[in-house]
Structure formats: structure tokens, C-alpha cells
Symmetry: C2
Subunit: 344 residues, 2 copies
DNA sequence: CTGCTGTCTGTGAGCGTTCACAGTAGAGAA
DNA sequence: TTCTCTACTGTGAACGCTCACAGACAGCAG
């Protein structure tokens, strides 16, 4: 492969015109080869491909976008407050999965952080101006104004986790939180635990609501009365798990298990239990949620619910591209899996 | 602010032409206002700005890029093997910092992952075709072919951490690894420790080499002979820290301190020490590096060296933009800080 | 009056691509 | 033959913007 620009300075890159001349055909034919190769004779296609190889031609996406009106890029929009982004390993897995799934379609991912009101406004403008074809939205908190704005502007949008409080017609991909919670609580009961507390996520997030719902369903199934003294809420942070466990222990010293709505919070719970002199799992069993690196890092390692992050990111990209292609919004719910470790 | 396209479908956005008509001036004048406002009368500028507000105009970057030859976007390129990306919290902080620093200049960040050879080739093409104006490179391993390729293609490039084995003329921003290591080892000696082992990073990374060098310098200063039985290498992963500590204990049971080249590895070291029945810090003091979330998450919490990630990301962006603007490559080295916690 | 600055403004051209259209050639049917 | 159909190819015209240029007008000097 001989690039026509030697090492060193940045020469002007070859255009479709150069390729056409090199291949002895017209711009149109080259363009057709570039876009699927329909209505092109095999010999012409061959010549064009050879010319592309020889010249090192790469399509100028700006020129293409200018006329097609599409940017062939998508945004990955994060509206969480900053700390969560750092703390939560799930974001990383998701981000990486989406980047790779998009790369397979040759679509670059633009990372966008909208933490402040100001950033939110700028980014909304940027997106609605058509600089991306669609948006992968990571923001589970309800009432997020940006989701509504984008939806109303007709921007293809896929959320991670079921958005609360937004009209239906917005696509989302989520793990089956409720079912995962059910599995975990059933598992705890099957171990002979009878006094199972819970540390939920924020109740304005689907993960907060659904996992609590699963917990209540299984207890009801088992004929255990719902006792709100052993239900506390956290914000998915480690510190909030620690605080939550302390409240639980104070309100119900006879606790013999805790279902925690995230691994990070579960780490905090372990710390608090340790400080209170309770052994895990002998005295108190602890079940987490996410199967993040925190789960194996914890000691004892955490029994948890695995969220299928790789599938989630793949599905998000698939649904988004379908929507960009004109299909209707869709909701995808993926199964979770119980992972047994030392803490139960 | 009245957008001329109501909620619902995606109407065609206003062009510079619409703004010109609305303001009663020519395209040229609008363009001048958009690009700094030189040679524009105050009244014309006022009219244009009002028209922009009224129409909700946002510049079409594709059209602009087509003619300027610049994309007004930069790539954030990750060439680490995938696991590190997950495990290492530093990447997140860096990614976030760079995204924000760029956003302040209204420049979007394109996230690029080049884990496999295939991805590497595709991304190199994409970049050298001019689809980004510059690249923020995160890949500390030496001999990374992509850095050399990009440099030779004349693409503005700033690495995070000093690249080893590449000709000089590549910009980088790094924490002062050697000095940080010196601080930590001095701190350990000041605590009365006499037998200080070390778990280094990979010795083909600057962090691996420099931190070890700092360790050796301080020991030499203190008149302690270098003993290679208490020097082991890890790969920055938690597991490698655990394995490293086990080797250290086997080779030198009289160890009373360990300097570990990353917090994550230090977590592993803590695990191994705990299993071996050594108390931290009573029997063995442990010093980490990074001041990542892992440092506070560990128990006991880790004394560590803080890397100024916020400043690093800011500097990377600043140096990159300067280079895009035509300035010469530059190297920036930033000071670290010793953070004392429970482990020493 | 002419000529020279300097500031400000409008206009045509063109960036590299796709799209619509017109046109060619060859195969098969009438 | 002639007409139609299909497969293929080339050509202008956009897309929305910036840039270079030319022109207008004012102020001031000669």
C-alpha cells in the first residue's frame, strides 16, 4: 500500500476526484462503489477499489454529511452528577460497549457531559442542530428535562434504564431489575434467612423503584409482612450504603440478611456490619446488585445480580441505529443472573 | 426565544442565509460576526445577533469544516488492553476532565478505542484522514506503533505520561512520578521503616520506570543497599499486587513496609498481607500511588501519592490546542502530593 | 479636486461529496 | 428492423459555509 503522501508534513488528502481519475471512471461511479456498489460493473468496482487502495483515499465525512444531512456519529450523553460517573463502574462498561458496538458500524461516539444547566443548554443546541444522528442517554433520574427536549425535537434517543415520568414513546434498554431483585431475595430466603432488610437506590430511579418492588413481591409470596423499619434508601454511593446499614442495625438488631440495590452500597454495608461486629455471611448475609468489580473486590466477595452490560450496550446501539433508520421506538428488557459468592 | 420549528418533527434548520435575510445583511457579514466579529459595524453585529437568537441558528459544522479543512473536534484515543480501562479509575477522571476542558472551547471529544490490531488500523485511517484536528493519547506502554504513525503523519498529539522509546518531538503531560515516589519512600523511612519493599508497575511504562527510580534514589540517599529480592513488578492490576506481595513475603519475611506503584495493586497487597496475618500499618506499612477511589475504599485506607488529574487533563487540552494552532510540541510535568491515611 | 488611508459590506467561487437525471449499450421481444 | 427494458455510467447541481476580492464610503492630506 503506497500512500501518496510521505512521512512528515500533512499533505492534502486525495479526493473522490483523484480516485476517479486513477480508476478511469467518473465521480459518480466511485461514489456508488463507496455506497454499496449497486449498479456498478464488476470491472469498474475492481478498478475503483484498486485506486482507493493505491491513493489511500478516505471519504471526507464533512462533505458527505453536508449533502446527506446526517452526521454518521452519535452522542453518548451523561447527565448524572459528576461523582456518580467516577464511582460507578457500570458507566465504564457501558461506555466501552457502546463505543465498540458503534465502531463496528464505523460510527464515532461523541462523549457529552451535561452536568450543569449551562452545559445542558449548549449540548441541547448542539444536538438539535443535527450534529449527531442520535443520542445514547445515560441518566436514570426522572424528570430529566433534556430527555423531554430531545424527544420533542425528534432526535432519535435511547435511554439506558427505563425513564420514569416521560411519556412512553422513548426507547430504552434495561436489565430486568424487578426479576433480578426477586431472584436475590428468593436466594436469601432459601438460605434460611427470615429477617431480610433492604437498602434501595434512589426512589426516583427505575433501579430504585423496581428492585424494591421485586423485594416486596417475594416477601409477599413468602407470606412475610412488609416492615418499613428494615427498608432504607441510599443513593448508590458507598457512603450511603454504610449509613443505611447503620440505620438498619439500629432499627432492627435481629436482621439476618440485607439486599442492597448496588454493589457499591453493599461495600458500605459490609464496612458497617464489620464495625458492628457482625460476621458476613454467618450472622448477616449480604446480597448486592450489578456484579461490578466492587463485588469481587469486596471481602467477603459479594453474591450479586449480574446486569448484562455487554448485551445492554449492544442493544442500545442496535435500537438507536434502527430508530435513526426510521423505525419506531422500542423497549428492550434483558434478563439478569444471580452470581453466588461468599457473602451469602 | 422563538424557535421557528415547533415541537415535533425535525424541520430543516435555519442556514446562514436565513440569518442574513432576517438581519438585512449579507452572508459575509453574518460569517464575520460568527468568527470573531472583526470588521463589522456595531449596528450590523447587533442585528445579526438578534437574528441568530430569533431563528435559533446554529452553525453547520460540516459545511464549515469542508472549507476550513479542520473538524473542530479532537479524539481521545485509548490503546490500553481492555481490562485496564475498566479497572483503572484514573482513566475516568482523565476522560471527564478532558471532555470538560474541551467543552469550554466548544470542541466535542470523540472517544476511540484501539484494542485490537484491526481497530488500530481503522482508527489510524480515520484520524489521518483529518476527521479530528488532534489526538489525546492515553497509552503508556512503550513501542505503541500508533503514536509513531500519528506523529509521522503530522497529527497534533499529546500523550498522557511520558512516552518511552519514541523520538522526542511528541508532546506529553505527566505527573512527576519520580518525585512522588521519592516523597512516599521518604515518608516510609521517616516512620522508622527500615526494610521497604516495592511493587513496581510494568517496566515498559514511564510510571513503572520512574517510580522505581525514585525509590532507588531515596534508598541510596539513606545509605540503604538496593536489594532486588524486595523488588517485584506488577501490571497495575489488583491481582498482580496480591501476587507481588506474596512473592515479597516469601523472599523477605522481615519486610516492614511496601511502596506500591498503584492504589489498585496496593489493594491486592493489603489482601495478601491480611491473609498472611500481618497487620497494617503496625507490622507492615503500605504506600500506594494515584489517590484513586480505591485508596479510600481500601481498609485500612491507603496513604498514597495524589496525581493532579484535573490539572493533567487541563494541560493536555491546552497543549493540544496550542499545537493545533501551530505551536511546537511541549512537555509538561506537574507536581504530586503525599496524602496520609491509615496504612502508614 | 485627487489620492490615500482605513473600516465596513456584498458577491462569486469553491470545499468534496451525493443525488437526480440523462444518456449509452446490449439483450430480448414484437 | 424497432421498440422496450435493464444494467450501467457520466454530469450538473446542490449542500452551507468561508475566503478572497472588489467596491463603497468616510476622513484626512496634499
Amino acid at each position: 500500500m503506497t500512500m501518496n503522501n510521505g512521512a512528515g508534513g500533512r499533505r492534502r488528502p486525495p479526493t473522490i476526484h483523484d480516485v476517479a481519475r486513477e480508476a478511469g471512471v467518473s465521480r459518480g461511479t466511485v461514489s456508488r462503489v463507496l455506497n454499496g456498489g449497486h449498479y456498478v460493473s464488476p470491472s469498474a468496482a475492481e478498478a475503483v477499489n484498486a485506486a482507493i487502495r493505491r491513493t489511500g483515499y478516505v471519504v471526507n465525512r464533512h462533505a458527505r454529511s453536508l449533502i446527506t444531512g446526517r452526521s454518521d456519529s452519535v452522542g453518548f450523553l451523561l447527565t448524572e452528577p459528576q461523582e456518580r460517573f467516577f464511582e460507578d463502574p457500570n458507566f465504564n462498561v457501558l461506555l466501552r460497549g457502546c463505543t465498540q458496538a458503534l465502531a463496528a458500524h464505523d460510527i464515532p461516539l461523541l462523549l457529552m457531559l451535561a452536568g450543569t444547566e449551562d452545559e445542558r443548554r449548549r449540548i441541547t443546541r448542539y444536538i438539535t442542530a443535527g450534529h449527531v444522528d442520535g443520542v445514547l442517554l445515560v441518566s436514570s433520574h426522572s424528570g430529566d428535562p433534556i430527555a423531554t427536549e430531545l424527544r420533542e425535537a425528534g432526535v432519535p434517543l435511547v435511554a439506558c434504564g427505563k425513564p420514569i415520568g416521560i411519556g412512553s414513546k422513548v426507547s430504552y434498554v434495561a436489565a430486568d431489575d424487578r426479576d433480578g431483585a426477586r431472584d436475590m431475595v428468593r436466594h436469601l430466603l432459601a438460605q434460611g434467612r427470615r429477617r431480610v432488610g433492604v437498602v434501595t437506590g434512589p426512589l426516583d430511579t427505575p433501579g430504585g423503584v423496581e428492585r424494591l418492588a421485586g423485594y416486596r413481591e417475594v416477601l409477599a409470596e413468602a407470606g412475610v409482612d412488609y416492615d418499613e423499619r428494615i427498608v432504607v434508601s441510599g443513593d448508590y454511593s458507598r457512603a450511603s450504603g454504610e449509613a443505611g446499614a447503620e440505620r438498619l442495625l439500629a432499627q432492627a438488631p435481629d436482621l439476618d440478611a440485607v439486599f442492597v440495590a448496588s454493589d457499591l452500597m453493599a461495600q458500605g454495608v459490609l464496612t458497617a456490619l464489620h464495625r458492628a461486629g457482625r460476621r458476613v455471611p454467618e450472622d448477616v448475609a449480604v446480597g448486592g446488585f450489578d456484579d461490578s468489580p466492587a463485588a469481587t473486590a469486596a471481602s467477603p466477595s459479594l453474591t450479586t445480580i449480574r446486569q448484562p452490560w455487554d448485551r445492554i450496550s449492544n442493544e442500545m446501539v442496535r435500537v438507536l441505529l434502527a430508530q435513526i433508520g426510521g423505525e419506531d421506538p422500542a423497549a428492550v428488557i434483558l434478563p439478569t443472573e444471580l452470581v453466588k459468592r461468599e457473602s451469602t
